[in-house]
């Protein structure tokens, strides 16, 4: 198997002595054209890896920002096939930036795991996170994705014990997504000191890079997390720019603001370990 885009990107960041910036946006919020421009803005401003959210009517792990983004996307009629088409459009333009599809199980299950894996492979997706498929339930999807060389990104959380970490690690690929707090997306940030040892442990057990997410919004927070993790995930703070645009109606502004935030975050992360 060739080195995956995900591995290559983490390797590159490590060589440069920094963590990778993992940026999340919801596909189709408020429409696919804006999403495409947001993806390009993220790529152009230092996002190393991009997570594309697939909307779901019942996002039980998400806080208000991403819930509302999903509702805006669903109102525009976005379905999983559209999300994959968006990824394919980006992939035609960019052959290096890893794309992670993040969503909930039911739309994927409904499409069928094998069909989904084939379509995701075609679209140039590198990894998949399904929030409500814990290791105990993800084997069917995992097998289908393995055929296409697509990583299954597993989650570790503050409630994941050492024993359980082994279960999470077994079958994980790409990287481990460490959820920094018990809570939903966009909730308050964790204190790095409280999670540093857990992140180190996850890295050791899984033998994979660890990206930390949930609650990271600002350059300062990103820099703190960049000192203890291999990647820093920011989602709600990006999505909020689309939320703001939904109020003002000025979606032209969203890619600019999203690009500016990506720049701020990537610069902060780049400096973090040199401070």
């Amino acid at each position: 198997m060739p080195t995956s885009r995900i591995t290559a990107r983490f390797d590159k960041a490590r060589t440069q002595g920094r963590a990778a910036l993992v940026a999340y946006i919801m596909a189709g919020d408020p429409d696919l054209e804006t999403s495409y421009r947001n993806l390009i803005a993220l790529r152009d401003n230092g996002a190393d890896i991009i997570e594309i959210g697939a909307p779901f009517t019942d996002p039980m792990a998400d806080g208000p920002s991403i819930q509302r983004a999903g509702q805006r996307s669903l109102r525009a009629g976005t379905q999983l096939g559209d999300v994959l088409a968006l990824a394919a459009r980006f992939r035609a333009e960019d052959s290096d930036t890893p794309l992670i599809l993040m969503g909930y199980a039911n739309p994927v299950h409904h499409m069928g795991y094998t069909s989904f894996a084939a379509a995701a492979g075609e679209a140039g997706i590198d990894g998949v996170i399904t929030v409500d498929l814990p290791p105990e339930e993800d084997h069917e999807l995992r097998e289908a994705l393995q055929v296409r060389d697509i990583s299954v990104i597993r989650l570790a959380t503050p409630t994941t014990s050492d024993k359980r970490l082994q279960i999470v690690a077994d079958g994980a690929s790409g990287f481990v997504y460490f959820v920094s707090v018990t809570g939903v997306t966009g909730a308050g940030a964790a204190r790095p000191a409280e999670i540093a040892s857990k992140i180190a442990r996850a890295r050791e057990v899984a033998g994979l890079p660890v990206a930390v997410g949930f609650g990271v919004r600002t350059g300062d927070q990103a820099a703190e997390m960049a000192e203890i993790a291999d990647g820093v995930v920011v989602g709600s703070a990006f999505v909020d720019h689309n939320g703001e645009a939904a109020v003002t109606g000025d979606f032209e502004a969203a890619p600019k603001k999203i690009g500016a935030l990506a720049k701020e975050l990537s610069e902060a992360i780049a400096k973090a370990r040199r401070a």
Binding site: P55, F56, T57, D58, P59, M60, A61, G63, P64, Q67, Q71, L74, Q79, L80, G81, Y104, A105, N106, P107, V108, H109, H110, M111, V131, D132, L133, P134, E136, E137, R154, L155, A156, T157, P158, T159, T160, S161, R164, V168, V179, T182, G183, V184, A187
Partner: protein
């Protein structure tokens, strides 16, 4: 003793009923549901747990609930005899408290100090608020905004009982959104909080433990009908939302192949109308709220809005064991529209002096057909799982009467 691989022996060690059930939760919650499973297994072996349940069922809930021969309904419908299992006479007016007591006792065993619950019609919320008042536990109930509006008496009851009510406006503001919000709270407050799920759905072990706690209904009914009639009934009937009252009645009879098991789903404006809550008759297998089961969903796998005049049935999914019983053919699932349920509500009230909740009114509306099919000499037990006092305002509105 049941045969190996018998229908009553599910779920398996993965929490599955055939291909349904499972534990589809975020990683943060996995350790919690595994802990709960271990604690439940331990509690089942503990005579003190059983004794405490029994004591509360007897002296607090008022069990056993009577098995009542509905003579005038029987006469009206013509055919088999209709018995009503009177779970509406329980403390708090529905079957919900059977399960809540069990879960709150488990929460106490686990040292949890805060209880959360979701509610649709408010019956599960009231039962949870009640048991929390009894044990001095703080209680937060999540309730869809639309349901807060149509179930005002229950909202006030919960407040009187000391519960905090959180109206949920996210999504469609109904029961499924209340459940999402409860899961969000749980994932945030993992240390001290116990989530009391109101129906036989959710991640394993909930479908199993809710069924087990509700099976008191079926065990009593079985003993009562054997005493009254000297034989088992020809059929059991119950309404289905998530399906906890139905599985509670059905489960002790699963191995009795001659006893028909008939669930009645809410067809709203009709199963073909697009406005209903009949997951088995009008849905497809999918994954929501921790389990794989039949769900109302669109062609992209997005969850569709359910509709029913009964807030307690207004849910786009169904407990996984019912999905299994349907696919194996052991149980039959009919449906009933809002209008037919309203007619049955009035009929039962006039003929028996029993005000049924709109939920069991759905089952009553299909009873005539079943009773005539089985014919004279037959016996049918229908679960009167809740009383209709909570519904008088919505019934009045539906009938165009000012109250």
């Amino acid at each position: 003793m049941a045969k190996p691989n018998a229908l009553s022996q599910w779920p398996d060690e993965k929490g599955r009923f055939g291909e349904f059930g499972g534990r589809y939760v975020a990683e943060t919650l996995m350790p919690l549901v595994l802990d709960l499973e271990a604690e439940y297994e331990a509690a089942k072996q503990d005579p003190a747990f059983e004794a405490e349940m029994q004591d509360l069922w007897t002296h607090y809930v008022g069990r056993p609930s009577p098995l009542y021969l509905a003579e005038r309904l029987t006469e009206h419908f013509g055919g088999a005899k209709l018995y009503l299992k009177r779970d509406e006479l329980n403390h708090t007016g529905a079957h919900k408290i059977n399960n809540v007591l069990g879960q709150v006792l488990l929460a106490r065993r686990m040292g949890k100090t805060r209880i959360i619950a979701e509610t649709g019609a408010g019956q599960h919320g009231v039962a949870t608020a009640t048991v929390c008042a009894r044990f001095g536990l703080p209680c937060t109930v999540f309730m869809g905004e639309a349901d807060v509006e149509r179930q005002k008496p229950n909202v006030f009851r919960m407040k009187l009982l000391g519960a905090e009510i959180v109206p949920v406006s996210s999504g469609t503001g109904t029961l499924k959104d209340a459940m999402n919000e409860a899961l969000r709270d749980w994932v945030t407050n993992v240390e001290n909080t116990f989530y009391v799920i109101g129906t036989a759905a959710g991640p394993h072990p909930y479908p199993q433990l809710v069924r087990d706690f509700q099976s008191i209904i079926g065990r009593e009914a079985r003993a009562q009908i054997l005493e009254r009639e000297g034989r088992l009934p020809d059929a059991l009937m119950a309404c289905i939302g998530g399906g906890s009252n139905a599985i509670g009645l059905f489960h002790p009879f699963l191995e009795d192949e001659d006893v028909r098991l008939i669930g009645v789903e809410a067809a709203g404006h009709g199963v073909d109308s697009g406005a209903h809550a009949a997951s088995l008759n009008g849905g497809a297998p999918g994954i929501l709220h921790g389990n794989r089961t039949y769900l109302l969903q669109d062609e992209g796998g997005q969850i569709a809005d359910a509709h029913s005049i009964s807030a307690g049935l207004d849910y786009p999914g169904i407990g996984p064991e019912h999905a299994f019983l349907r696919d194996t053919g052991r149980a039959e699932y009919l449906s009933c529209t809002d209008d037919d349920a309203l007619d049955a509500f009035q009929l039962c009230t006039r003929l028996e002096g029993i005000l049924p909740a709109l939920e069991p009114a759905h089952a009553l509306a299909r009873a005539g057909k079943v009773l005539r099919e089985i014919g004279e000499g037959g016996i049918v037990i229908l679960n009167m799982c809740g009383r209709g006092d909570k519904d008088v305002f919505s019934v009045a509105e539906a009938l165009g009467e000012a109250v």
